[in-house]
Symmetry: C2
Subunit: 355 residues, 2 copies
């Protein structure tokens, strides 16, 4: 199929089952070459080794615990490739990502630069990747970002924060095991779940919506509210994340994501929390949803605010507004074709001043 | 991934847009070899040629209008292959199916026997196909069966009615164009839509359900009721069909499908209508759903009943019950592991007597 009709490409292999991770090891046997090896990139949250037994890595495998304090950078991805190649002397057979959006996106980018020359930052943009990456399996341990099903690996490079958007960013397999979510800290679970809620709101409220994306977004939204207003299950949250992810794959995010990029960049606030702070201030644009969102925030006992003691000046606000204005598709989706007139730079700066 | 956790495989390429069929021709150019050809298998409903201009088949292509009065048989599939090969002297590059469940399933099977030796009936069963088929594109013109996303090509062979269940039955691409549904006769639209509604009920009520399949089934169910109780759109019906299909791919149908196979086989009643007749008689098993279903039937102004003047005897009922009892997985899903005791043959015969 060719443009203007976009092709929707889902993850080709998916397993959903509590306990499914226990079969990761056996399933990897099918993918290993006799003298090959597997690389596990695991969120450092699991660095105490509690997954060792389940993973059962072979002696020749590489297990790397990824520091996800900051969001993924191209520098970290490039260094991972160099270190692995220096240590092993050849490319791996399979990459396994176990973690949240940062870990999942890091492995997407890593997979690509094992088979495509140059550095990760050279592929930031749309469809710049020419070769399929190394086979990759994603195992989410927190739900909401939709990274497990998207064709985007969001990276901060030396020049910009932008995704590697490519069909080759898509996972070959994802293993959705809700039992892995059981130890996620409550605040983090909420902020990440709200990433899903918020991008569904943006998808449903935008002008790029169609019935396909609407069905996925509205179901994901229902699941999110049931999880956070009625103590729904981690399994439901996991399905919400998948459906919300598929919704934005076939529509677009909106004003919240655009504005949150500015504060994430300036103040190093994680994506999920940054979205919540921005969304809470956008009652005018998404009234009934913000009201429901505040009920969920209250029920979690959380307070949304920018961290105290931030330093900022006019120059910083200028730069933040420039970052927002790069988000052309989300802004078009949220405000219509006339978005440049409706959202001049001064209005963004004014919004940030009032936060 | 390996059993017991089933792998969910979706259709890898999907386009959803009103008018999307207008780009079929251009998109096929990418798949054609210089001296290759495309086979279009089109429901005979379109035999008046009204799709000719949109399809724009090349002179070397084959356009075949498929008689879908009866449901697909292995004999028809085998003959299609022989006729096409005799006429063209080589295998096609691409198969395009334009039609409902019968057309979609016929092309799934045809694709497989162009690259796998022997006859279609040799592949009825589970995972008997060893080679990928010819590239195939599905274009549904009626919605509800879920055939566009399933890995099953239901066929009546010389020995049995059973699906070719294989990963290679899955379409490579589907093109979901809701505008193609605009001329579907109302009764047929309803019976086919109810196929979706009913298999969602069976999925939600069965013991094989999980949160993944439940989310798809419950959303599809909501869309179906909105379409048939509130004049929802063809686009929503198309999305319901997809979601309902995905739900049963990862769970299972139930009592209705099992019992409807018997009357379809004995009295040549189409699958959608047969399901409705059976479901209407299963108030005891699916009470609140049957009530809602009857509201939808009433709103369509339809009367559900077996055709008049059917001839039957005890021997026929025996054979019908045998067919039902072959549906082990659906019966297990509907009634639990003890299904053989809960549904002895006499009980099925009694049910058919009372219809």
């Amino acid at each position: 199929m060719i443009p203007p009709f976009r092709i929707f490409k889902p993850v080709p292999n998916l397993v959903f089952a509590p306990g499914a991770i226990s079969q990761l090891s056996a399933s990897l046997q099918e993918q290993r070459r006799p003298d090959g090896y597997v690389v596990y990139i695991i969120d450092h949250y699991f660095a105490d080794g509690r997954l060792n037994e389940i993973i059962a890595a072979a002696e020749s495998d590489v297990v790397h615990y990824l520091d996800t304090t900051d969001e993924p950078t191209s520098a970290v991805v490039n260094a991972l490739r160099e270190n692995i190649l220096a240590h092993q002397g050849k490319t791996p057979d399979v990459l396994v990502a176990i973690g949240g959006g940062s870990t999942l996106d890091t492995v997407k980018a890593l997979s690509i630069i094992f088979t495509n020359k140059g550095k990760a930052e050279e592929y930031q943009g749309w469809d710049l990747v020419s070769q399929p990456g190394i086979l990759k399996i994603g195992v989410p341990t927190i739900s909401g970002t939709g990274a497990e099903v998207s064709r985007t690996a969001v990276l901060t490079g030396p020049l910009k924060k932008q995704g590697i958007n490519s069909d080759f960013s898509l996972y070959d397999s994802i293993l959705l095991d809700p039992s892995l979510l059981s130890t996620v800290p409550a605040a983090q679970r909420f902020y990440t779940g709200m990433d899903c809620y918020i991008h569904c709101v943006e998808s449903l409220s935008g002008c790029f919506i169609n019935e396909f994306a609407r069905a996925f977004a509205s179901k994901a939204l229902d699941l999110c509210t049931s999880v956070f207003l009625k103590d729904g299950s981690d399994a439901d949250l996991m399905v919400a994340s998948l459906m919300g992810g598929y919704s934005i794959v076939y529509s677009e995010v909106g004003l919240v994501h655009a504005l949150s990029y500015g504060i994430s960049w300036a103040f190093h606030i994680h994506h999920g929390e940054a979205n919540c702070i921005i969304f809470n201030a956008l009652e005018r644009y998404y009234p009934q949803y913000v009201e429901e969102f505040r009920q969920m925030v209250d029920r979690q006992g959380l307070m949304l605010a920018l961290p105290k003691g931030l330093t900022y000046d006019d120059a910083l606000f200028e730069k933040m507004a420039d970052i927002v204005l790069l988000m052309q598709r989300p802004l078009h989706n949220a405000l219509g074709a006339d978005w440049r007139n409706l959202l001049p730079k001064e209005k963004i700066i004014e919004f940030y001043h009032q936060l």
